[in-house]
Structures are given as structure tokens and as C-alpha cells.
Assembly symmetry: C2
Homo-oligomer: 105 residues x 2
């Protein structure tokens, strides 16, 4: 799916890490939320409230998920799941475009 139809998008961006990570919030027609974001090179720790599904649309990054010391490498596209109430670390090597989906549960 290359686009989302019949959605609401919040105009103002979400800005983190001095703008090195930014995203836009999109509410889909089923009421669920996704954010479409960009990460520039750098290392970032994120925290989750609920579970998240991170779809990498394009990029080059390493991901360390909660409960592991193993880095998962993503070049190009990929997906990873993060549990709720957790922290994860990403090491972004090249500009990375992502879509993050949030559980509505």
C-alpha cells in the first residue's frame, strides 16, 4: 500500500532529538493511528506506551529490541515489532523513512 486514503493528518510535526527524528500523525479511517517519520543518522532510544509495529520504508539502520543485546540489521526495507511499555534503540546509518503503527488495544 503506497498511500493511505480517507485519513486525517495533523499538520504540525512531532519533533524529537533536535529534529533528527520527526514524524507526522495520521489517523486512519478505522480510527487507528500511524506516524510517518524520518530518522537522520544517529543513535536514538525510544520508549513505547502500547505495542508498535515499525515498518521501514527505506533506510539503513540497526535495531536493538527490548530484552536482547543483539542488533538486528535493516538495509532497505523491513519490519520489527516492539512491545508496549518498553525501550528500544536504533542506530541509523542513512536517512530512514518509516511508518509506525500503534495498537488500538
Amino acid at each position: 500500500m503506497s498511500e493511505f486514503n480517507n485519513v486525517t493528518i495533523v499538520k504540525a510535526a512531532n519533533v524529537y532529538f533536535d529534529g533528527k527524528v520527526t514524524s507526522r500523525t495520521v489517523i486512519l479511517d478505522d480510527g487507528s493511528k500511524v506516524t510517518l517519520g524520518i530518522m537522520l543518522p544517529g543513535t536514538y532510544e525510544f520508549g513505547t506506551d502500547g505495542p508498535e509495529i515499525m515498518e521501514i520504508l527505506s533506510g539503513d539502520l540497526n535495531v536493538k529490541l527490548p530484552g536482547t543485546e543483539v542488533w538486528q540489521e535493516i538495509k532497505g526495507t523491513g519490519t520489527f515489532n516492539v512491545p508496549g511499555n518498553a525501550k528500544f534503540t536504533v542506530e541509523v546509518l542513512n536517512v530512514t523513512d518509516y511508518c509506525c503503527s500503534y495498537s488500538t488495544k
Copy 2:
């Protein structure tokens, strides 16, 4: 208007200047196009096809429009118009969040 309703958003980002300028394309319900973008600090020259209306949602930048050597300063919010088939320069001092509207004519 803090959000756009009933729109289509293209998932993949538009990436310029090594990711220091990125945007997402949104098609409004009247068929017109806007892009929601982020510019990180730096100096950038842009070219237009058709006329554009640049609404600065938040930021700190100087703008030099076509046909002038005068820099216009925008701190916080502001709007400027760019004619079609022209070049303009922005000097971004702090992370800048914008909404660019494109004429459908």
C-alpha cells in the same frame, strides 16, 4: 486549521539535501496538493514549477524570494508566496516545520 481531513497521504517521504529537508505529499479532498515538511538548519535553494504558498508552522528562517536581494525573516510562524518557474533561497536557523500549497492552475 490544525489538521487535514478526508485526505490521501503518500507513504514514502520526499527526501532532499541528504534528508535535511523532507516532506510528505498530501492530496486534499478538493484534489489540490500540499506537502508537509521539515527543514533542518542549513541553506537551501529550491525551484518551483507552479506558484507555491509556503506556510511556516514553526521555525526560524530567512527567505530570499526571486527578484530581490532582501532577506525576509520569519521567527515562529509566517507565510510567503513564491511565483512559478522560479528559484528561492532559505537559510534555516532552527528546525522548521512547514506546509507548502501548490496551485492547481
